[in-house]
Symmetry: C2
Subunit: 495 residues, 2 copies
């Protein structure tokens, strides 16, 4: 029996056209089996052929822009500018990785020459280089249907390194996934690549996800989602006959620290930056500034300015019903806690959709922040916590208590360099990207990008899910011992 | 209550002097807590200081060579030459990593300059570089008490990258671990490093190991042992509040393929190489050639020559009682299977110790090898399987069936280059080190070393537990955004 489901319109809560069938065990088996066959051929493609594939996908998707953007707007409730921006970002990412497929920055070749006269044993020649891991299962994010999804960061990294991809679409935007997937399939056919180069499966039950990552053909997993979801998949992977690597980008609170001098010089600009960063994508960014740490005596001007901006910002749709419900639960917990005070709570407006929400802001002192777990659980959506400290030492103690985070930020003046150094040393223990006088949202995709950090930011903080180094996730090193170079590097002669 | 245990003499099965106390929860908590404090200071040491520490450890241990080698011989039953060889290997590894601590090959710095004029948003500067992960828990191997243990591969890699180490000693050679640990502690004191730089805990229950890797202060794990043990620790890690990376080098069958031309030209030399590699360390090497794949019609001369050598080799002690028992169980299974024939079974000699064993060799055809799981489970000790194929195509099918392996080897002549290419493509899917006309034992420690492969060779085949690249396990990348270089790189001014 096949279960079908529908997507919802985030702005109204109503069903959207289109039905999506939960992938059956047989369909998963077929897709993964076909990907395994494709893997054998794709790993023999030339770098140029891999680059051409990614370029052709970019061209095909650009030609379908209007349809994709419009469905994506409906399924996410994002403002048009947010979706158009993400579309451009996803296209830029495809173009970049088409180039990286040719440049192969991950193939760091190391060689040691033979030494037949070495005592007591002759030394053989050795060459270490990198090969594709095999079919990669991809689970995109609810909040980036274009740049972290079917054709997103995991797809471009897996394909550029010569691996087929099996995507499990996100149940909150299956229509967008389907449109993107159709474009990729069209390119696969046109370029006469093996059909298993790209597989798309729908599903919204955990069982379907576990079935995909448990298939013996799958060699690695790229996942973006909740810490609970990532942990559950990682556990399921350890029940495979042969466990495989999983790269999971999970939750993050992205604490921002503001020093007295920075506050004295530019409280209003900081308030503007904070409010804009918090509401970007209505707080659905994995880099949302979820915690701001300040010195108590500097709070007033900043709080007043921020409240003023919040009051003028409109309520906007959350991504889906479940995301709105999780947000409401998080808010309820904060409102009920007696150590926590409300700084701003956007009012619900009856004429708006059921999932519209505005800014929520809560305050607590440093002792509470250090003692309680508030600081370590991300609540998706437009909510942030302000931690008030009584001095620099307490601010650093709050910093020391943080678990892993994708980013952490400091606003400070050059007059405070000594404090900045102390803070940096602590930040280096828990942050992935460490920002000085900026905001965590609006990450660059480049050669120096690091989008990953200690748990709960990632399952393994040594990886990045975005940027050039994300390619390293889907290759593994080999050492060739005693091979003449021509025999080692010879390409397959026939198909 | 403290449980104490004793080590056994591998040659006689009798207890050796010395009692070792199972680490209590409080002791583990104390050691890990002290390591966490040390981590903050060690990460601020200069590269020269880290190199000096490793050099001083090498000097101190060299000065205690006789005592260490002699205890190690008793606890392992290894021949003196084997232990002396491993001692030199461990010292060479310490010297090499003392140099690498200064050279820092893992700190691959990538930078992108700012572009304040970029549209629509200014581009911030970004620098990606690597920092220590924090305290590393180390679980050494039963078979390498010097090179993969207290001062072994994980220790040198963790320290060279600026991390403290918490070692859980191996219960089959706790005395050797204690001697090595005392030498390291002596150096830590002499150099006035924080005491938590190095911690040694004893224990032989799984609960003790789980308690160590579950401690919140532990930031990464280096483990060498069985696939079951590695999987169990990995599962326990997923039950931590904050999961951490684990690097586990596990089981491997290291298949060796021999072509007709190679057999025709040098059957006797191959027999000598095989028998020597199999009995090196009495089959206790993770790179032991556990499976040999040949063409049936070429078998006779090779089998006869190998049997002749086996018959002249003495029985030698297994590492411990549990290892001998596991070996006997593995042999029993093979002898009981009806698709498997005995090619050589060394006789037990009554006057020898209870754990002395000699070569065991079993044959099967390709169909059995492909159908059954024999090929994928490593039995520690001097046993190997011969797979007879009816031709090249069947040989490649056998290759296609292999799970991950630390190494795989081909013996072939240049006349057979076409087959070699086909074989190499398959070998690249499951092997970590791919050897042409050589033997897997006797691995080089260098910049091109790869000692890791898909499961069951490793938990994550993208890592190596030996060689320069093993350093990459214990650092993680950071991106500094918008930092002036002097502020980003400033060292701590005081202690």
């Amino acid at each position: 029996m096949t279960h079908a489901f529908q997507a919802t319109c985030a702005a109204t809560g109503e069903f959207l056209p289109g039905e999506f069938a939960e992938a059956t065990a047989a369909q998963i088996d077929f897709a993964c089996g076909r990907a395994a066959e494709a893997a054998v051929q794709i790993r023999e493609l030339t770098p140029d052929q891999l680059g051409e594939f990614l370029s052709a996908v970019a061209t095909e998707i650009r030609s379908r822009r209007e349809e994709i953007v419009s469905r994506c707007e409906l399924e996410t409730g994002y403002l048009n500018a947010r979706v158009e921006g993400e579309f451009d970002r996803a296209m830029g990412q495809l173009d970049l990785f088409a180039r990286l497929a040719v440049e192969r920055p991950w193939d760091r070749v190391t060689s040691e020459a033979a030494d037949p006269d070495r005592k007591p044993f002759p030394k053989p020649s050795m060459t270490r280089r990198f090969v594709p891991v095999g079919p990669v299962a991809v689970f995109g994010a609810c909040n980036f249907p274009l740049a972290i999804s079917v054709i997103g960061n995991d797809f471009v990294a897996a394909v550029a390194t010569g691996n087929p991809v099996v995507v499990k679409s996100h149940p909150s935007h299956p229509g967008t996934c389907e449109l993107l997937g159709n474009a990729v399939k069209e390119v696969v056919k046109r370029l006469k690549l093996p059909l298993g180069t790209f597989e798309l499966l729908h599903g919204r039950t955990p069982e379907t996800s576990v079935r995909v990552i448990s298939h013996p053909a799958i060699a690695a997993v790229g996942f973006t989602g909740s810490p609970q979801g990532g942990r559950a998949l990682a556990k399921a992977i350890l029940d495979r006959e042969n466990p495989i690597p999983i790269f999971a980008e999970l939750g993050s609170t992205n604490p921002v620290f503001i020093t007295p001098d920075a506050m004295a010089v530019r409280a209003k600009a900081i308030a503007e930056g904070f409010a804009g960063s918090l509401r970007f994508g209505n707080g659905h960014m994995c880099t949302k500034p979820g915690v701001v740490v300040i010195q108590e005596r500097d709070a007033d001007a900043f709080i007043a300015a921020t409240r003023g901006i919040f009051a003028k910002q409109p309520n906007l749709p959350m991504l889906s019903g479940p995301v709105a419900e999780a947000f409401d639960r998080g808010i309820e917990q904060l409102r009920a806690a007696k150590e926590v005070d409300s700084l701003f709570v956007a009012e619900a407006i009856e004429t708006e959709g059921p999932w519209h929400r505005g800014a929520h802001w809560f305050g607590m002192n440093a002792e509470t922040a250090i003692r309680e777990r508030w600081l370590h659980s991300e609540t998706f959506g437009p909510v942030s916590i302000l931690v008030r400290c009584r001095g620099e030492a307490e601010m650093l103690r709050v910093a020391e208590g943080f678990h892993g985070s994708l980013t952490t930020t400091l606003h400070a003046e050059t007059s405070e360099n000594e404090f900045t150094q102390c803070w940096r040393r602590i930040a280096e223990r828990f942050g992935g990207r460490i920002i000085l006088n900026g905001w965590p949202t609006g990450m660059e995709i480049g050669s120096a990008t690091q989008h990953g950090g200690p748990f709960p930011a990632s399952l393994d903080g040594r990886s990045t899910s975005v940027g050039h180094a994300s390619l390293e996730r889907f290759v593994r090193p080999l050492c060739f011992q005693n091979w003449p170079e021509d025999v080692m590097l010879a390409k397959r002669s026939g198909p």
